[in-house]
Structure formats: C-alpha cells, structure tokens
C-alpha cells in the first residue's frame, strides 16, 4: 500500500534511534584477545628472549649470567663445517619426509576412497602408526633394525639379499634411510587421513562427466581430483615440512644424531649445544636459524597460495 504525499509537503522526520555505540564491535576482540595474549606471552615473548639469548654466552648452569658476545655464536656456526652438514641433513630429511609421506598418503587415500569390503576397518588400521607414541616407535624400530636380531635384516636375508647383516643405525650411509623409514611409517597415515578427507569434497558428478567424455584415470585425477584436493595437500605439505624440521624424539632415541653426524638435524644440534655442552647462547643461535627457515617455508607457502588464488580469480 502506498501513501500519497502532496507535492511540497514536508515528510515528517522518521524517528531516528539515539546514537549508541555499536555493541557488537567488541565481540571480535573478545574472541581474538585470548589467542593474541597466548601468542604474545607464550610464543612471541620466548622468541624475543631466544633472539636476545643468541647474542650472549650463557651457561645452562648459570642461566641468569649473560655475557654479550654479539654475533659470535652465529659466526661459530657458519665457520664450523659440521653445521653445514647439519643444514644438509635437515634439508634432505625434511624434503624426503614431505615427498614420501604425501606420496604414500595420497596412494593410501586413493585406495581407501574406493568402495570395498572392510573399508572402515582398513581406514582405522591405517591410523594406528600415527597414534603410536614416538618413544615406543623409536624403541621398537631400534630392534627392527638391529644387525643380528632385527626383523628387517631377517626379511632381507629371506628375500635373498646377501647383505642381510647391515648395521642400519650405525652405518653413516644407512642411518638416515633407516630414520626416514621409521618416520614415514609413522607420519604417512596422517597424510592419508587428510587427503582422504579432501577427496570427499571431489564432485562425483564432475568425475562421472569426465569419464563419460572419455577421460582416462590419469586425466580424471589431473583435471578433476587434483584441483580440488590441492589446497589441502599444500597445507599438509606445509605442516609436514615444519614438523619434520623440528622432529626430535625419533632421531634422538634412535641415533642421537650419529653416526658421524649422518642424522644430525637442526633440532638435535640445538639440544646437543644446550643440554650436552650446556651452552644456551649457542643453542639459541641454532634455534633462531631454525625459526628463520620455518618462517621462510611459511612465507613461500602463502606466496604460492596467494598466486594460485589470484590465478583462479578468487582474489
């Protein structure tokens, strides 16, 4: 129903609500506040402390007595040839972990996505290694890789390999592969579960349409499945990268970074400097390099994610 108003007549002013502050504007801060406080107190503050510590000579036994040494701790690291090996081992270990865990996880997820009898049980079984405590896993695998009594060598001998007496964890060539086998065994189920969840978002209509159009399996995967799961896989790769850079328990328990530095990653180096040599300043400098690498990886991830979103017109 319309209301006629005579020309020239002045419409009575609508009753305006009294100017009140927007009651809802604080709500986001209330939600973000605790998280921001947590990050400031338990992440940012310790990080700043670590940075300051890395410019000092500080003993674990007298953590309150600092001597400012400038960049000496960083110079010591750069000058030491073993630190170059630490960086190389960290790089190889991280890349291998990410590539193999994602690859195996993808294969396992694709298999578990197929309908078959006992699929629910199979999905549950796959997650068991991820749920196992790393300490227990390390101790079990130390026995599995034992030269004389280990199952691994027993299987190799049974398969006809003559060199079934390998001393896996004590050999400079084999220790890192042994650590990788253990790590991948434990982490690939997580990758499988994440990718399996992402696969549930793939449109079955699109998949069927592609098949009707004559696309083979590889083309369906490349044109339909991969674009859908790619963001999840990228995020998974980021997580696996950061977790691999900072993984300590498995490596320390199995080899303590040995033999001859063959499995010494940044975190093992940090622990050794801080708690074996009791040099907190030097340990902090190793930690800051680790933080810088993790930040770089995160930056690269967000850079490529942003580029992909722009290319897809989502930004």
């Amino acid at each position: 129903m319309s209301q006629d108003v005579a020309p020239g007549a002045v419409r009575p002013a609508a009753a305006k609500p009294a100017a009140r502050p927007d009651e809802g504007r604080w709500v986001p801060y209330l939600f973000i506040g605790p998280l921001a406080l947590y990050l400031l107190l338990l992440q940012f503050y310790p990080l700043v402390q670590e940075l300051l510590l890395s410019f000092t000579s500080t003993s674990l036994l007298s953590p309150r007595d600092h001597t400012y040494v400038g960049l000496d701790n960083y110079r010591n690291l750069i000058a030491a040839s073993d630190f170059h090996q630490v960086l190389l081992v960290t790089f190889v270990y991280t890349i291998a972990c990410v590539v193999l865990a994602v690859g195996l996880g993808l294969a396992a997820a694709m298999l578990l996505d197929q309908p078959f009898r006992g699929r629910g049980v199979a999905r549950a079984l796959v997650t068991i290694p991820w749920a196992a405590p790393p300490v227990a896993v390390a101790l079990v695998f130390v026995w599995i890789f034992n030269a004389q009594y280990g199952v691994f060598n027993f299987v190799l001998r049974s398969l006809g390999f003559e060199s079934g007496q390998e001393n896996w964890l004590d050999s400079p060539e084999l220790a890192l592969p042994a650590i990788l086998i253990t790590t991948i065994w434990q982490i690939f189920p997580f990758a499988a579960v994440v990718i399996l969840a992402a696969l549930q978002g793939v449109s079955s209509e699109l998949r069927e349409a592609a098949i009707i159009d004559g696309a083979d399996r590889l083309s369906v995967f490349g044109a339909v499945v991969w674009p859908t799961i790619r963001p999840s896989v990228a995020l998974l790769a980021l997580f696996l990268t950061i977790w691999s850079i900072r993984r300590f328990d498995l490596i320390w328990l199995m080899t303590q970074g040995g033999p001859i530095g063959a499995t010494e990653t940044l975190v093992i180096k940090l622990y050794r400097e801080g708690f074996v040599y009791r040099d907190l300043g030097q340990a902090a400098s190793v930690g800051m390099i680790g933080v810088a690498i993790a930040l770089l990886v995160t930056f690269v991830y967000f850079h490529f994610t942003r580029r992909a979103e722009i290319a897809e017109g989502r930004r």
């Binding site: 003993s59 674990l60 036994l61 007298s62 953590p63 309150r64 010591n76 130390v142 890789f145 034992n146 030269a147 004389q148 009594y149 280990g150 001393n167 964890l169 004590d170 050999s171 400079p172 328990l253 199995m254 080899t255 303590q256 970074g257 040995g258 033999p259 001859i260 530095g261 050794r272 708690f275 074996v276 040599y277 009791r278």
Partner: protein, 412 residues
Amino acid sequence: MVHHPTRRDLGRAAAAALLHPLGRPAIAQGARETLTFAAVTFTEAGRGERLRAWVERFNRSQDRIEVQAVGIPFATLANTVFTQMGGGGGPDLVRFDQIDYYAAVAANRILPLDDVIDEQDYRFAAPDRYLKVGGKRYGIAFESSNYVLLYNRTLLRGAAPTSFDAFLAAAREATGGGNYGFAYRATMAERPGFWQDLCNFVYGFGGRWSDGQGNLTLNAPGVVEGVVAYKRMFDSGTTPRGADAATYRRMFWEGKLAMEVDNGGVATIFHQQAPNLPLAAAPSPFPTRAQGLVLAPLTINANTRKRPAAAAFVKWTLQPEPQRELQAILGASNVATVVERSPEDLAAQPWLKVYDDQTPNSVPQLVEGYEVKTPEVQQIVLEQVLRVLQAGSDPKRAMDDAQRQAASRVRR
C-alpha cells in the same frame, strides 16, 4: 602440660601425611627438617631399594632431619638438576657423576665442604684425590668403581687372557653357537657408555686425553694405539654389533657372552641377578693396568636453605657403620673411606679383590685440565673413532683431525 593441637597443626599434619610416601605419623615429625637427595642409583633395580633403606636408617637415627630419596634416571639427572639449580632451586643433596661434578663446581652450584669435613678424621680411599678442585673439596665419593675384565669361566675355557692378542684369540674361540666372545659400545646412541669403553682401551694402551698441563693429546701414540685396538676388536666378528649395554649385559648373565670390561657396579648386579653364573674377573688384558674410573660424588646444592642439615647427612655418611653398610649395598664399588671387606665376602666373591686391587690404577674418564669441556671433546673424539670403525679412516689421521677440532673448540 598437655598440648592440644590447633587447627593449623592438624592442617600441617594432614598435608604431611598426604605428601609423605610412607604415610608415617606426621604429627610426631612436625618439627623435622626435610631434605631431598637426588641420585641415579635410587632408580636402579635391586640396589635402589636397598639404598633407600640405607637413607631411612639415617632418618631413624635421629629425629631432627628427614632425608627423602629422589630417583632420577641417568639420562636426565644432570639436565634436570642443573635446570633447577639455574632457577635457584634443586635438591638439597645431589649424587653427581664426575663429568657433571666439575661443571657444577665451575658454576658455583655446589658448596665447598672444607668447613664440614676435617680430613684428619677419615681415611679416604684413593679416588678421593680427584674431588679437590683448586685445593677445595666440594664432595665426598658416594661411589667409585673400577673397571676390570669380567668373564664367564664356562665360556672362556681357560685362563683369562693377559695380552691383547690373547684377548682377541679368546674372544674368537668363545664366539659361535649364538654366543659372543666380547661386547662393548660403539654407537652414538650410547655416547656416554661408548666413551667409557673407549677410555678403557686408550688408558690401557698408555694414552691420555691431555698432558695435565693444558695440552690436549688426542693424537698421541698411546691414544692412537687404543683406537687401533678398538678397531681390531670391532672387526674381529666376536661382538654383537648394535646390541646396547642393557642387552649384552643381559646376555652375559644369561651365559651367552664370554667377556666384557665393566665396572664393579655392573659386576654386583650380575652377582645379584644370576648367583649361579660362573663369574670371574681379571685385570683388563691391555699393555698397562690403567683403566677408567666411575666416580660419583655426594654434594650439597649451593641453593639449599638447610645447609646444617645437609652437612649433618654428609657427616653421617662418613661414619664407619653407614660406610660399611653402603659398601655392602654397592658391592664391588667403593665408598668414600677405606672399608675392609670381610673374609666371608672375599671367599664367596673372589672377583671383589680384583676390583679392589685395580683402585690405584683407575683414572677418571675426563679430559684433565678441561673437565668442563669434556662433553665437547668427547663428541669430537667419538665421531672420529666412528670414522675409523665405520668408514675405515686411518686411526692416526682421524685422531689428528680430532686434536685439531678439539683444540679449536676448547679455545672458544
């Protein structure tokens, strides 16, 4: 006058009863001062329980002080206690390993005991001389232990070897049928034990890690000969490679391992766990009698607010009867003062005498003059020895590298 407990008294009693592990009547102990005593040995199977009972004897011997035993595993004791000390706390009494003792002294984390102990009053055992730093005493030996060759009389089939070549031959002869001739550590996963075993070989061949004058001697002839011997044993095919100490020690008391060079504490555990084992001991079969020494001092935390009570416990420990009891618990290890063994013990365990006779030849497993830097030198040396064992590096060249790296490291 009858004292009626106040509400505060009752509260204290309830709290003490809840906190006290044995749940003894708390009101009677209300005035007692409680000390904590941290040691690895309280966690050991067999010896741990007996040591706790020994501490309880002190608690029963007087009504003023209560010492509570705190067991911390070997791998974490030093870091746990040092972190607590760095924060201004920590246990009142600590049994350190020697490598940590010197670090604690250097950082002023433990108290000098010169005003607590009058040395004229005691007859200290030989290793006591290693507890003085800069002329001051910071601890008493809670336990010291020597290394000798332990062997299974049945598996060895003959007298104990007296030379290194005879040792290798005996190990080869005893290997086979699931048995091994000898076992030692050669992995970084057991770094401290690897170092102890290496020290025995190096000291046995006349080597030392320094000359005591501030110069490292990692590439001196005696050290290189010790490393060569370590490698010869590694290549002999007589050792269960990859087996950790816990495993091969179990193999020994199960009669599957013929020989090992180990300390008196381990021999005591063998004797307790397998009384029927044909256990025997002999001097280690190296050119010289020098071997490593395990030395674990009892110390007082500099942060303690109960210094007189802690000192009272240390003085009680040095009394003849507690020393005798402690010696009986520790078996083939020694205590702070000289305690004569009974003829019955020596007759029942003849290997005890071999351990006791080794005492004058035992040398701490430290880099003399660089005690605090020992972990860093240790890491460098062990990595080079692993190159010799695993990668076939030349022992002399490897130890030259160790000398160069360690000299640079200790200067930092």
